[in-house]
């Protein structure tokens, strides 16, 4: 049978639009869902995605990807890598699955919004594949950890985490709801696919894939690469939307959507990826520091992409660059200190050799972050574990929902950015977090942070055990030190030898 060559029909089908006879354009594409911003249909029809694929091609490629990742998993299952992997690496996987797997389904809904409501036919076409991509990511990242539930209940948090009020879940939901689920199709294409996926998922997944191969975890490495190749494709939906907005006089708004998305993504990655790269991954398996990764993937590459589109670097670019020396160290120390409140076992990563590495990658680490870890290390070596566990809650930011942190020790500088709005006092961890709020207070003002919930009596009993119960953490799920304090004991041994 004669088949028309792809080149002859592809452009026609991917750009197909039609004339509605039973409904108006406004009924077909409500502004709230489509977000056309007054730009006429002819303009949206110029949407030109750089990556093109047909359905048969898509299915063939995806089938191969799945077959590859699942067969690596099946082949290595007997090898029981998980039983001999470093506990820091196990924590990395458990943290990753809980934060990401179920949100892949949410991403599928976001792709669905574009597939149905985007006025650009090319966007609808791409997003249809995007919904399938994200569905696959949800399934594969639930299926792989499921095999390990027999090892620890923490693996079950791949599915459980996002159904709870754990502080990390609240933070992840607050971010993903904002950029994926509560925006119109055009904003989704910019905030989710351009802001978040081009920059940050790229980094999380490429960084993790590199660390996974280094650590010998071929199952995780193949899973991650399989996901990342989809991301690299569907992340390209935002660029053409940005071009259309800019060409039609909406540059300011395009810039704002990008800026909010980048800042919020940065904060989430500072608590998820930062600790993993600089503290959990065993020293000998680290490829780059988190800061080096961020500079390469976000500061340099992303800025270039923005410039190519005719956008500016976000106004907070300098703040972000400076925060690469601060925020994730604080997030890590916070997660470790409040370890009973997370579903994974944080690796302190603060033994003698690790601290040397940290000082080298982050000059001044010892006289700042190291000062806090000194007190913790002494307590552990003097039988005072109780002093290394929390008795109150950290104050969290009303935007990112993460602790308000800053530089400790000799260069103490921890700043709050408060705002009184309609009689309520909000606290923010940075100028940019407060700025995000100020761009659209109606969107954010009702949200209750964990602290707000605690103070309004939603958490009972109103103490730390009550908060742990509220967060859904049961026995065998609460985090503890991944290496049972061996890193602290190493200092004691050093002292004895000396």
């Amino acid at each position: 049978m004669y088949q028309i060559p792809r080149a002859e029909w592809y452009d026609l089908t991917r750009a197909t639009n039609w004339t509605y006879s039973y409904v108006t354009e406004e009924e077909m594409f409500p502004e709230e869902m489509s977000g056309a911003r007054g730009i006429p249909m002819e303009e949206w029809e110029t949407y030109d995605e750089p990556y093109k694929v047909t359905y048969p091609e898509y299915v063939a490629i995806q089938r191969e990807k799945d077959a590859g990742a699942y067969s690596v998993k099946a082949a290595l299952e007997r090898d029981a890598y998980v039983d001999r992997a470093d506990p820091g690496w196990i924590s990395t996987m458990i943290a990753h699955y809980g934060a990401i797997a179920v949100n892949e389904y949410a991403a599928s809904l976001a792709e669905g919004r574009m597939a149905r409501f985007a006025k650009a036919p090319g966007n609808r076409n791409m997003a249809t594949f995007g919904t399938l991509d994200e569905n696959r990511h949800g399934q594969i990242q639930l299926f792989f950890p499921h095999a390990n539930i027999k090892r620890s209940r923490q693996w079950d948090w791949a599915h459980k985490a996002m159904q709870t009020n754990d502080w990390a879940s609240i933070a992840a939901r607050a971010f993903f709801d904002d950029i994926m689920l509560c925006r119109d199709a055009v904003a989704v294409s910019i905030m989710l696919t351009f802001g978040f996926e081009t920059g940050f998922t790229n980094m999380q997944f490429l960084g993790l894939a590199a660390d996974a191969s280094e650590a010998g975890d071929h199952t995780f490495a193949s899973l991650i690469s399989s996901v990342q190749t989809d991301e690299a494709r569907h992340a390209q939906q935002g660029g053409p939307s940005l071009k259309i907005l800019i060409a039609n006089g909406h540059k300011d708004e395009a810039q704002k959507l990008v800026d909010i998305s980048i800042w919020r993504a940065w904060k989430l990655f500072s608590v998820l990826t930062g600790p993993i790269m600089d503290y959990y991954t065993p020293l000998e398996h680290r490829s780059q520091s988190f800061k080096e990764f961020m500079v390469e993937w976000i500061i340099i590459q992303f800025e270039r992409q923005l410039a190519d589109l005719g956008l500016d670097a976000p106004w907070f670019w300098e703040d972000l660059t400076n925060d690469l020396d601060v925020t994730h160290h604080g997030m890590h120390l916070g997660v470790w200190y409040w370890r009973p409140t997370v579903w994974w076992n944080p690796a302190a990563g603060a033994g003698p050799e690790e601290r040397e590495w940290l000082e080298e990658k982050y000059p001044g680490w010892n006289k700042t972050w190291g000062k806090c870890w000194d007190v913790i290390t002494d307590n552990l070596n003097n039988g005072r574990e109780d002093l290394t566990l929390p008795e109150t809650l950290p104050y969290v930011c009303n935007m990112c929902q993460l602790p308000i942190v800053g530089t400790p020790g000799n260069e103490w500088n921890v700043q709050d950015y408060p705002l009184e709005f309609e009689g309520r006092l909000y606290h923010f961890g940075s100028k940019a977090d407060r700025w995000c709020f100020e761009q659209d207070p109606e969107r954010y003002k009702e949200h209750q942070s964990l602290i707000d919930r605690f103070l309004s009596g939603q958490i009972q009993p109103a103490d730390l055990p009550g908060a742990l119960a509220y967060m859904g953490l049961g026995p065998g799920e609460m985090g503890k030190d991944a290496h049972d304090y061996a890193w602290a004991a190493a200092f004691k041994k050093q002292a004895e030898v000396a």
């Binding site: 604080g330 200190y337 290394t388 530089t407 103490w412 921890v414 408060p418 006092l425 606290h427």
Partner: protein
């Protein structure tokens, strides 16, 4: 006498913390309550210093015997707790 939540920013620590104080507490008692969650946990003690309370980023400290109820704070007010000579 009533519970009153404040946001404690303790000198040398890395994070702000929710600390419940009492409207009858003096500033010295507020500092003590904040210190409980920072000193000997992540901040080394400084026994030769006193701990003073000020509004976040303010230059003046509150008088040591001033009561919370007289300080004019909003609930969850951010306070710096700093080591000082007197």
């Amino acid at each position: 006498m009533a519970a009153f939540p404040i946001n404690s920013n303790f000198q040398g620590d890395f994070v702000m913390q929710l600390v419940p104080v009492d409207t009858d507490d003096t500033m010295d008692q507020v500092a003590e309550k904040c210190a409980y969650h920072s000193v000997n946990r992540r901040v080394a003690p400084q026994p030769d210093k006193v701990m003073r309370v000020r509004l976040h980023n303010a230059s003046d400290n509150f008088p040591r015997d001033m009561k919370v109820s007289d300080a004019g704070w909003r609930p969850t007010e951010t306070l710096d707790i700093i080591f000082a000579d007197q």
